[in-house]
Symmetry: D3
Subunit: 254 residues, 6 copies
């Protein structure tokens, strides 16, 4: 069940059975000469949407929130098209999403993340949310979880098999393949020089651009294909369905 | 040109010709028993996406940013599925979007809005952004504009003709028709009681729910049809293309 | 009853009968070569103070808070004497005023506004205040209202009759007339060139000054007279007394 | 010269001669059964306005900003009519006032304060303002000063002579006398029990009310008279004129 | 009992007998050519640690929190090694410390301060903390107190006797003597020119450096000796033990 | 060279040779029945202080800032003595430390961390700091680094050898051993039941206490000894000296 494509009485009905909700979360940032700016929010959206369809077919409905499409990408601001939230803004927004959903009774909130640069801030936001309860000695109904799509069962192993050389860490062939599979009309063919760009630390935007002139970090994006992307999606979907089932079953101690 | 579906070199190329960008902005909130929770961000997205296709075909490309899908909807939090940002968070997020896009050279930023409850906060955010320049006696390169899709040339006149009775102001047949036209598989058939619900002031969430028990304000959502929705979209698209052209031509005095 | 000119036991006594309080709110900003910097906070103060005297005489006391004299006027900062709050500060201050008054039992809080540039931020502040209740599923005792003095019954019609040409939108003859009527010793006689200045959009401070060199927007301030000002005050006072009575009677649904 | 009662070209003209501006700042809070809620903002306003008239007559004009009428009075919130800003809001507002005035060229900004509870927060706000320069190694043009009216030359000595017993520290006969002198129609006659109330520490609002049941701290407000108030005003005005002259002459080292 | 050198069950046991906790608080900032950057946090730490040992020996245990070592020192940022918090950050941090300790049951929280520049912000932070209770009509369990170590009984008198000339107000021989007594290996011998530097107002960092070229204000730091420092410590320790006993006995009215 | 135990001219002299500074950072939080509340800030302080001595002896001085002793520990607030900063406060404080040190010319800032719960917020703070440069297209002079002491070369391997069973993740024998080695008088002997407590996820404070009743996570703290602690310190010190040398040599691309 996709929240945005539902009416409120339908959400109320869903809540009678389940309190779990999945939020695809990513970033809109440069992904080199071949990757779409939306790659990092598209990947979790693609995977979660496909999983939701299967769940629905299986009669085990899951709730999919709208996609949180802008994250923390300050280091990519040297490349046109990147849109970033400051960490402080990002934290406030995550808190508001969580408190809104909690208001309706959702108490298991699962962020399926598509951007490594989001991780720290999302975790800090979780702590900020928990703090309200912890300082005030109050019982917190919430179980919050962050999962990167590449950490879903089976995914990283598959990617490493597919791309033993040149997977890298930004504008990777795996993430680009996922978007190509979902949007075949968006496949780019670009001559990459060098095939495999350097790696290095991530600091501010101008430093990033100087280290990584076309935006890629250690990744040969040209290895991405629609077919490989579809295989990754399939594995991720299976992993997500399993992971959500386990997550939904988690209970806080009395 | 859709920003999220582009690569950064493509955005750089676009910027050589135009500094205008359109951001569809809305809200995810209850729209009564027949309207989708995503109605308010879908409407501007639907209209802007359709306009972008025509512009592209006409060789007058326009840049379409990803959709800003969560706005200020505190008054709808009494209905399941509503997700809201506090005004302070919303303002910070708008500022970060604007400053990111300005970083790349966009200086005409046009928010196509789908939610009346967003207007005040977006306007306040504009003033917050301008303040940095105004307090510090600095030249501001930005021209920011907020336009509600129903205020595009011709749209409200058309809606009033279509729905002389029961248009109302929330969960209106016009906005629901637009989403039905774009997502025909999402059409709902629900018996509404009363056909035309009451109107009244908007305060906090519990007050809202007490005044407007099924979420609608003065609107007979059941008047929405796919066909009427398509007509509205057509008119809005034409209006948007005109409005953007005029907006792009606006220049600040030297 | 004027709050600042009362003792706390007198306020306590008042609260036994009424929970309504009026806050004149405005801005301190340039009003062209003829208008006082305080025009926008003086106008609501003048009208509310006059209304309070009549109410008192009629035995229908109304509570008048001190004047909130600095608002959001970033766009006027290019002209000497303008004092502005950033929207974020303005919102926090409005919230603190409201929560202070609510602490004592006032639950109908009416802002009589004198500055168009305040509207968005005041409305956003109301939403911020309501949010505390809406996210937390709590009953909110407050009814907050913003009313511009020129929107009081009868006022704008009168002004349009008085000034069919050259009323404009900033440093208008109507607002200046109101201050001249209240402070006759402050009447200025200045040659205005052009009589009727241009109109246009409002962005940042330097842009504003470039578009509107003497600060006025479309307004021939020289049409203001003490006599016309007194007529406007009279009409506004009557309108305010009526509006407050209706506002005090508003009840939230159980 | 009173800023709010001037036009912007008049302020521009003033700035050719002087960069000093005085801001009367106080609080709106309970002052016991005899004192007006506005006492703390009225006192500096009364003194500064009287000084401004003399200065003008003497041809040594001084610039008087509008009164900052709401300060930090959280501890008085247990008594009806008190309006307080949180320290964080108060600091932001002071910063915005200062930055607005600095924008126009005022570089000597003098806060004439009427409320002891404001002192810490105003001083903290000054440090916050200076911080922008200090962290960034920038030359700061501003000289900020806080002066309590009772610390003006001669004032506290006079008050101690007038009220050797029962002056106390809140709702003092001296501050009430100043308001009675300025607003003779506001004189209250109330039986105070006990004549001299207890003293003690100031913590939160409920604690304050429990310690000081009628709001006064150690003060016999009934000693206030119009005549004594006028004497205090006279002394304070002389002190202020002297102090401002010295302040305006202060220069930062090159 | 030193909190950081205890286990949580030991703190729990302590709380059965006492709810008082002492926080040494200071600053890390330049103290001229002879004083250590840590002087202002070392002094209260040295005194409190010595007092704690005596209390323990006497069977009257007192709880000593870790040292809050960075305060508000924006004006010293022109000298290498100074680390400062902005007032807004400082206030938030004090609030978090207090709310954490309050969470465990501590309700008498005593800040032993070593830096004059901290006073305003700490007091403002106290008001911010109390505000939560005051706006919401809630009983506040907390009694917060700020005490500068030089204001402990007997201390300032002793310092004035020791240093009748050249005590000054920054990098004073008394504070430096305290650190020399505690860290004899840190004694510096430096030729100071002039022996007694100027005094003056404190504004921003560059202004400070221009007025006080070696960082001292009116203080002949070279008068500091280990022996004098030990005497000051002894007096301060006795004063602190007395003061804490009185503070612990303070009760809020019912 | 220890910053707090230096004078400002000594820091200025140091800066002629090196721009690197090390900040020990940790937390003050429960560490089970045997571990000190200060464990997490003591460990990096102990290691860094020992390394600094060696560096000094070797003529390769390194700059050691004061210890940042309170971090993000909201989940431990259910146990007495824990003091935590909210993530938002923690970020602001880290920013102020960094900007203060950067003001003096330090451009390589190395946080030696002792608390896993700090990592996300410190990383988010780095991004917040970088953001100022990245949004504004400015060159950032800073290289910021976070290193957990257990991630120093050789340390975790050693700990795993020492404690093949029962190392766990909170109140670990390794961290407790480090503090026992440094403070032998603080060794606790407590019967732990069970020897090895459960592991699990970390959410809010009450949840934490319910899952981990004595505060430990998977750790048999009783394995800690002074001797093992000293071995860990030795290894960590060597690792730190190596790591700092490499870090100091890192250069940003031109």
């Amino acid at each position: 069940m996709r929240l945005a494509y539902s009416t409120w009485p339908e959400i109320t009905a869903f809540l009678a059975d389940s309190k779990t909700v999945i939020i695809p979360i990513g970033s809109n940032e440069q992904h080199g000469p071949m990757g779409l700016l939306g790659t990092d929010w598209m990947c979790p959206e693609i995977i979660a949407t496909a999983a939701e369809k299967i769940a629905q077919k299986n009669g085990q409905d899951m709730m999919l929130a709208p996609t949180f499409n802008i994250g923390m990408a300050q280091h990519h601001l040297g490349f046109a098209g990147t849109i970033s939230l400051r960490p402080s803004t990002f934290m406030a927004a995550i808190e508001d999403w969580v408190l809104s959903l909690a208001r309706h009774g959702f108490d298991h909130i699962y962020f399926l993340n598509g951007h490594g640069g989001n991780i720290s801030t999302i975790e800090a936001a979780f702590s900020q949310i928990y703090s309200h309860y912890s300082y005030n000695n109050k019982t917190c109904p919430l179980t919050l979880k962050l999962k990167n799509w590449w950490d879903l069962p089976g995914v990283i192993t598959l990617c490493n098999q597919m791309f033993p050389v040149g997977h890298g860490s930004h504008a990777t062939p795996s993430e680009i393949a996922v978007t190509y599979a979902a949007y075949p009309e968006q496949v780019r063919h670009v001559e990459l020089t060098p095939k495999i760009p350097p790696t290095g630390p991530i600091l501010d935007a101008l430093d990033y651009r100087a280290r990584f002139p076309d935006g890629r970090i250690g990744a040969d994006s040209s290895l991405a294909t629609i077919e490989l992307g579809q295989q990754i999606i399939n594995t991720a979907v299976t992993g997500l369905l399993t992971d959500i089932q386990a997550f939904s079953a988690e209970q806080k101690p009395a």
